[in-house]
Amino acid sequence: METNGVGGSAADMSRILSELETLKTAKNDIDRRISALEAQLRDTTNIQDKNDTVSNGSCPLISAVHSNINHDLTPDSVYRYSRHLLLPSFGVQGQSNLLKSSILVIGAGGLGSPALLYLAACGVGRLGIVDHDVVELNNMHRQVIHTEAYIGQPKVKSAAATCRSINSTVQIVEYQEALRTSNALEILSQYDIVVDATDNAPSRYMISDCCVVLGKPLVSGAALGLEGQLTVYNYNGGPCYRCLFPTPPPTSACQRCSDSGVLGVVPGIIGCLQALEAIKIAGAVGEPLSGRMLLFDALSARIRIVKIRGRSSQCEVCGENSAFTQQQFKNFDYEKFTQAPLSTLPVKLNLLPEDSRISSKEYKEKIDNGEAHVLVDVRPEHHFKIVSLPNSINIPLASLEVRLPEISKALKEEDNSGSGASLYVVCRRGNDSQRAVQCLQKMGFNSARDIIGGLESWGHDVDPNFPTY
């Protein structure tokens, strides 16, 4: 058995050792901060010197006296980017190019988040961020640049703060506005490379056309569900977005993450690859993904890189005979062209006459009054599993017509008084429920009515504890 004395001194020793360790770490940290500040001071003096000698021409300033340096990286930059400099295929030249480059990232969401993190970290000279949205709780699973503290605040502000905290030497420019034809030329013209990290078809056409008009390479990424796509447009003789997709797809083919879902890491991977392509172009290294497209399928763990067409001579925007000017760009109506809104606000349809609809509050009154009724929820089954109203029956819109007998049966069962039970239809936001009521009325269920605004309005106007998604 150990004596108390020995045990005590062993405990003392370990306490002293751990305190020493803590102090040493703190000392190292302070030393690092001192040298960072000293380097900053040197930089500032260098810039002043440079400004003083600017009339001297383009000769790079070599201020080092006791070391032989023939590049313009500061000692601090050499240290910060040393692992880049050690790469033979990137090296001083690649980093130097990167530090002089400017990159604009449009969208600070699922793709923009990781792209911005890496572009700030790697030392792009100037980094612009465009977004008009605010951070929401249901963004957090994939938009990893934002923290909970920024919920409700502009994404641009949040993303810029994170970028600055990673690398205070990068110039971050904030554009807290939606990109439109009215401001796009002005903003994009100030950057060497554009990264499209948006989430809708009209923005993609608008950004591509703007890049063609201004002659900028465009790193384009997209992700939805468990799949991602990536390519570089308008670069090295490669196609523009319109060469590939001259006609916009039907709106029903343009799914959104807020409707179809997305596994958070999937845009994360595509966003990282966008940063990589932008870094390669800015650093002037490697082979850009131009004239090729990367297709990523997360579920089956497959990446396929395919050869796509080159620039099309027939293209209406970048083709040989195209005369698409800046003025034409400014006047072009991208929402009309794609039949889709530039913003991502969900559509609100209005298909039914007023007497075929009731509000969620009115529906609540009907429940409270004990009115005999059947509530049909026409959302897909996997939505129904997330949350549903009590006593609702799930018949997805796609199978409504073949499952009409179930509704007739339920109506008969509910009809206690013999004067008939009412039929209500609900969905997530109140669009599909209107389509369903149209269908039901056509099939003879004349009293069918939809709940305006769907479960979203139930959560908003009736039961604030009802989960929304």
Binding site: L111, P250, S252, A253, Q255, S260, D297, I305, V306, K307
Partner: protein
């Protein structure tokens, strides 16, 4: 003729959510000449189970669908006139806009 057909970017939803189809096709005009145009009508009849307008428009694919024959854009091989051979891989992929 054995072909591998793949659907992606949401197009798989039109064929019962199955992405990869290994199929045997009997060329209607003999084995010498089976072109993409023939394949599209075969796919429409045999694989597309719902909303065919989400796959085709006229006798070609709808706007927003990329067609790849052996990992190469069909624009480079003659689009609808691309001749198919045994063991070819044809990919139909809908362009994504999300982010």
């Amino acid at each position: 003729m054995q072909l591998t057909l793949e659907f992606g970017g949401g197009l798989e939803l039109l064929c019962e959510s199955v992405k990869i189809h290994k199929v045997n096709v009997d060329p209607p005009n003999g084995p010498e000449k089976f072109i993409m145009k023939d394949l599209l009508s075969w796919v429409r009849t045999n694989l597309i189970k719902e909303r065919p307008e989400m796959f085709m428009k006229g006798d070609s694919v709808r706007p927003g669908v990329l067609v790849l024959v052996n990992d190469c854009d069909w624009e480079l091989s003659g689009q609808l006139d691309t001749t198919l051979e045994d063991k070819d891989v044809v990919v139909f992929i809908s362009t994504l806009h999300g982010g």
